[in-house]
Amino acid sequence: MPQMGVSVAEGTVAEWRKQPGDRVEADEPICVISTDKIDTDVPAPASGVLVEILVPEGETVDVGTVLARIEVEGSEALGVGRWALEDGTDAKPNGGKRYSPVVARMAAQHDLDLEAIKGTGRQGRVTKKDVLAFLEHADEAPMHIESPYRPEPEPQSPTPKAQSPKPGALSRMRRSIGEHMKRSLETAATCTTWIEADMSRIEAGREQLGLTALPLVARCAIAALREHPQLNAWLEGEAYTVHDAVHLGIAVSLGDEGLIVPVIHDAQELSAEGLGRRIKDAAKRARSGELRPDEVRGGTFTITNPGQYGSIMATPVINQPQVAILDLEAVVKRPVVIDDAIAIRPMTIFGLSWDHRALDGVLAAQFLASLRRHVEAWDGG
């Protein structure tokens, strides 16, 4: 059982991908280990034949326990393709993609977010044609309701199914989410407060930076949290802990499978661009099941953003033991009154669910007012 994160002491074998007698290649996933909500592929440490499975599916064992034995063969030649860099080096240390010079240049020229472009080249590489097609598409007229919360690109490899659920039974992830949500509602005195905000400057800012609105709003929320640190806190029983650092949870939908909240640690140190990069990376890895258990722990405040489908308000459930959660919904052009004149502005409604045990409504309203002030005064973060 590999050490999946510093705070993890045990793990459950969710699935064996290989059976005794199967050939395995070094770094090929041989089984799936599950800790909390995170499923992680365990790569084979060497090439050879899987001769013995020591821990069956469903069993939880301590870190360091031997899971299986691989009989290693004599050294064998590695297949080197025409472009060896592209072949079999998916597991790059930084998880980064490679872009060709022309693609990198076009992205810089047009301020493009390459992660948002679907690649049709070898192993999903983004080609010049993909960028051209994306640019052509980008010129199309905006829709009536324009959400800045662009969906993340589809994961390139299908998300590994944790366990095939029995007929009628909930998946392990759904059960886990259900337990968390129910416990939160039973524990917290949840109230929700809303405020309306003009997103004009955020919209302009995000276009300039080539980002979605999420990291910009997150940046504003962090600034508001610094002014109202009582919301950046945990309430555990009677222990109320206010945090200096903002460990920002971002809810990421996994489609049918459920939801997961990767945590951007020390988010207060990041610019909007930095946040954008980290959020994108976390979301991508969440969807491909590559998050480490440490990356979903320790959040002090959470943002959820289901607005891409056009919904305008929600009452999110607080992620325990945090005391508040911010909900971002669709940005919709609306007529608004500005200096006694009617103007068309991209408006949105921010919703804050907060725990009445920890604070009162006036603080929630002050936080939202502060958030709105930062959003409407956005000047590059």
């Binding site: 025409r82 060709s100 010079p101 022309v102 990198a104 080249g121 070898r122 044609k129």
Partner: protein, 319 residues
């Protein structure tokens, strides 16, 4: 417009220039009475006489050296190497004397050396080579390599009129195989590249006989441009970089041995000046660094084939 073979177009260009300019004369082995090993100068001796269509001994150094002397005193010699492979015997006269004459003494050396190049007909290691890169490396010598009858005539005329030593690489495998419309009368084709087929997804850059290999290889592929260099020195760098800008993916094909071939220079140019336009590695297809075998199947195995060029294009298009 008359239709001619590549070989007839070369004869036609040479004849036009000899008729127009009495300073132009030919020298070579068996080019007079016999009409040349490949019959490029068939009938020339009857029209122009033995003073302007000179049979020489088997002595390439003597042929080139004599031509240099004649050029310096104002004539326009056109030398024929029976096979381009034999130019190695005239190397010193060409590289050290002709190529550097203008630099050392300020004298123009307007000679043209016709080099029947290339393989594909089981000629073996002494009769199939593509020696152009030897001379690209040597300053002071121009090199052209036409792929079509029209360009063969026009580039030969340009070569003869050029004040520098010019190597005219005429591919033997094109002599009677390739036909095309050729304008009547004298015309000079500029020493610049031409787009043989347009496209903007990938460009195959090549010259000489490989232009036809590239055209055939990419006939069924969509969006593939074929750039025919036509001239190696001067190399049309802007045309190459334009194609890289438009297509972003490049396959460079040489019939010559791969190491330090003309295509290597093209690839180096793209790496240096076209880097930011590339959407994939520059791929080369060339003859491996081996002598050209006599054996027909072995020769076909080493020369870039239609299949090899096509495979390289398909693979790079998918990159």
């Amino acid at each position: 417009m008359p239709t001619m073979t590549y070989l007839q177009a070369i004869s036609d260009g040479l004849r036009e220039e000899m008729r127009d300019d009495e300073r132009v004369f030919c020298m070579g082995e068996d080019i007079g009475v016999f009409g040349g090993a490949f019959k490029v100068t068939d009938g020339f001796i009857d029209e122009f006489g033995p003073d302007r269509v000179m049979d020489t001994p088997l002595a390439e150094s003597g042929i080139v050296g004599t031509a240099v002397g004649a050029a310096v005193v104002g004539l326009r010699p056109v030398c024929e190497m029976q096979f381009s492979d034999f130019i190695s015997c005239g190397f010193d006269q060409l590289v050290n004397v002709a190529g550097k004459m203008h630099y050392r003494q300020g004298l123009a050396v307007p000679i043209t050396v016709r080099l029947p190049t290339g393989g594909g007909f089981s000629g073996g290691p002494f009769h199939s080579q593509n020696p152009e890169a030897w001379f690209m490396h040597s300053p002071g010598i121009k090199i052209v390599a036409p792929a079509t009858p029209e360009d063969a005539k026009g580039l030969l005329i340009s070569a003869i009129r050029d004040p520098n030593p010019v190597l005219f690489c005429e591919h033997k495998h094109l002599y009677r195989r390739i036909k095309g419309d050729v304008e009547a009368g004298a015309y000079a084709t500029p020493m610049r590249a031409r787009v043989a087929r347009d496209g903007d997804d990938l460009v195959v850059i090549t010259y000489g006989a490989m232009v036809h290999t590239a055209l055939e290889a990419t006939e069924e592929l969509e969006g593939v441009r074929v750039l025919d260099l036509r001239s190696l020195v001067p190399l049309d760098e802007e045309a190459i970089l334009d194609s890289v800008r438009a297509c972003a993916k490049v396959v460079v094909v040489d019939e010559a041995n791969e190491l330090c071939a003309a295509g290597a220079q093209v690839a180096a140019l793209i790496a240096e000046r076209g880097f930011e336009d590339l959407d994939g590695p520059v791929v080369r297809v060339a003859t491996p660094n081996v002598p050209i075998p006599f054996s027909p199947p072995l020769e076909q195995a080493v020369l870039p084939s239609v299949d090899r060029v096509k495979e390289a294009c398909v693979e790079l298009l998918a990159y």
